[in-house]
């Protein structure tokens, strides 16, 4: 009898960290094209610096921790892309580098690297950059204004619509502008239509679960509709809150990080709802614009608690029957 000796894992699945991360990277590429069209070649510089910093940092950390160099691990590159997408187009490069370093050196490597991080590295890096350089992080430029590689005095800085919303004003943006991201905002996280298309791609590829972004966006929309400013219809308020910043981007690319979300389906939905409510609370009371990022970081810390709650709740919800069992997703078989 021929038998082969093979090391673990014995159970294999077509879906792996590499496939999920490569899907995420593919879904981020169209946003780069769009931002290149809007802001010019500086976008490539910011993106390139961010990705390279994350990759080099990740490799150095791997070397220090005596891990084998894995060139197929794209998680660091995805972190770099997400960070570059969330910063303003005319951001100084040191801000991007600092955010990348914080993301990998503080939020990822100390916890054990890919798949073991407690906090979303990109969210951590962005929160760090927001706290340190809040002035530079919220100064945007007009779309279709080609930015020079070296920033000079010709660059005009503007406030984004989220700043107007925070001050209690009404950003008078048409639906077309909101869907195309044709307003001053972060580098690649305002293109609503493309992000929605990418969301469909990611759901079709089973890289993310549809109910996580949906459960996040529904409470945001409900609170925005209920708490709409005077003179603005509830629908317009919802559109402004959802599409006038980087909330949709955060819902699709950061909230759905498989390493930092709870493991059960029900706890994921609860996690999304709580993250949505917390985002709106931060939007109303926090002085910083990037409220979704801070909400996600706080929810990341609570993700294991959601799983524990689910483990406590699920047996109580099931009828007492020895034959019934729960699968990994918390569903009855």
């Amino acid at each position: 009898m021929n038998s082969t000796i093979h090391h673990a894992p014995y159970i294999r699945h077509t879906e792996s960290s590499r496939t999920i991360m490569s899907d995420a990277a593919i879904a981020l590429v169209p946003l780069y094209f769009m931002s290149y069209f809007y802001y010019g070649s500086r976008v490539l510089l910011v993106g390139g610096v961010s990705i390279l910093t994350c990759l080099i940092c990740d490799w150095i950390c791997g070397y220090l921790l005596q891990r084998k160099l894995n060139l197929r691990d794209l998680s660091a590159a995805v972190t770099g892309i997400i960070i570059s997408m969330m910063v303003p187009p005319a951001v100084p490069l040191y801000v991007v580098v600092a955010a990348d370093l914080f993301a990998i050196l503080v939020c990822k490597a100390p916890f054990g690297g890919t798949g073991k991080n407690l906090f979303n590295p990109a969210a951590g890096g962005l929160a760090f950059a927001t706290i340190c350089w809040s002035n530079q992080m919220f100064l945007y430029t007009q779309p279709l204004q080609r930015l020079p590689m070296q920033l000079d005095e010709t660059v005009t800085y503007l406030q984004g619509p989220t700043a107007t919303l925070k001050l209690g004003g009404i950003p008078r943006l048409g639906l077309t502008e909101l869907l195309l991201g044709n307003f001053p905002g972060p580098l690649g996280s305002t293109f609503t239509l493309i992000i929605l298309a990418c969301l469909i791609y990611l759901i079709a590829r089973r890289a993310i679960k549809w109910y996580l972004p949906v459960s996040f966006l529904i409470p945001v929309a409900m609170i925005a509709a209920y708490n709409h400013p005077f003179g603005v219809s509830p629908l317009e308020s919802v559109a402004n809150e959802l599409f006038a910043g980087s909330l949709l981007f955060v819902a699709v690319y950061m909230l759905t990080d498989p390493a930092t979300t709870p493991k059960y389906n029900i706890s994921r939905i609860l996690y999304g709802i709580c993250a949505g409510i917390l985002t709106m609370v931060f939007r109303y009371i926090s002085p910083l614009e990037m409220s979704a990022v801070f909400a996600i970081l706080l929810m990341n810390a609570l993700a294991p608690a959601f799983d524990c709650f689910c483990e406590w709740l699920l047996p109580k919800m099931q009828p007492v029957n020895n034959e019934t069992a729960l699968d990994e997703g918390g569903n009855q078989q």
């Binding site: 040191y94 600092a98 503080v106 100390p110 760090f128 706290i131 340190c132």
Partner: protein, 228 residues
């Protein structure tokens, strides 16, 4: 295996217990608020260290003398009270370092009287002789102050580019988060990891040095035998 150098290293560590080994901040995680919050700058940290020397060390010394005569629940009240009395005395010393620092840091000076390091130390010195207890308290103070002072230097340099208010780094991007509590905690975590790395490297080097000496001894022995 030749463990001569390892033994020497371990002896050194035993002598510096509380400073390099069992450091109250990096290893035991005691009195973290005292190290994290006031270490935003060198002035504040020196002031807190001076106040700690005046309050913490004598309290531990007194604890070693009277500790056995006082029952456990009363000890918890007595030692902070002694420390509080000493804190009043320390105010004049601290104000020589900086006039406003006592009011600026506020509660963190009061924390010197009630913190985990004090509670840990007063219980540790119960079986010790007074002089040993004094040495123990001094080592704990030196260990905590050394780490907190290092934190203060790094944080002030990163946040303002200056040391003790004197500008050292010009035209370098500042990192305001370094002066926040968040920055202090992260820095302390990295320092703990760095110290562990250094300990491992030193241990590896001492082992290698021992092995190399062993090989040299064997070679000498073989040479002498061939000469014979």
């Amino acid at each position: 295996m030749n463990l001569t150098f390892v033994r020497k290293y371990n002896r050194f560590l035993r002598k510096t217990d509380g400073i390099f080994t069992h450091n109250p901040l990096l290893v035991l995680g005691l009195a973290l608020p005292l190290a994290v919050i006031p270490s935003y700058g060198m002035t504040a940290m020196v002031a807190v260290s001076a106040a700690m020397l005046i309050c913490f060390v004598p309290t531990v010394f007194i604890a070693s003398i009277i500790g056995k005569r006082v029952s456990s629940p009363w000890r918890v009240i007595l030692y902070p009270l002694i420390s509080c009395l000493l804190l009043i005395l320390s105010r004049s010393v601290v104000q020589r370092i900086s006039v406003l620092i006592f009011d600026t840091l506020g509660v963190y000076f009061s924390l010197i009287c009630v913190n985990s390091l004090l509670m840990y130390s007063v219980e540790q010195v119960l079986p010790k002789k007074p002089l040993d207890a004094l040495a123990f308290a001094l080592r704990q103070w030196v260990g905590a102050s050394l780490v907190a002072f290092l934190c203060a230097v790094i944080r002030e340099l990163l946040a303002t580019g200056s040391l003790w208010g004197i500008t050292v780094l010009k035209d370098v991007p500042r990192l305001p988060v370094a002066q926040m509590a968040l920055g202090g905690f992260i820095l302390l975590g990295f320092l703990a990891a760095f110290c562990r790395l250094v300990h491992r490297i030193v241990l590896t080097l001492t082992l290698r040095a021992g092995a190399a000496q062993n090989e040299n001894d064997l070679a000498d022995k073989e040479r002498s035998e061939t000469q014979k």
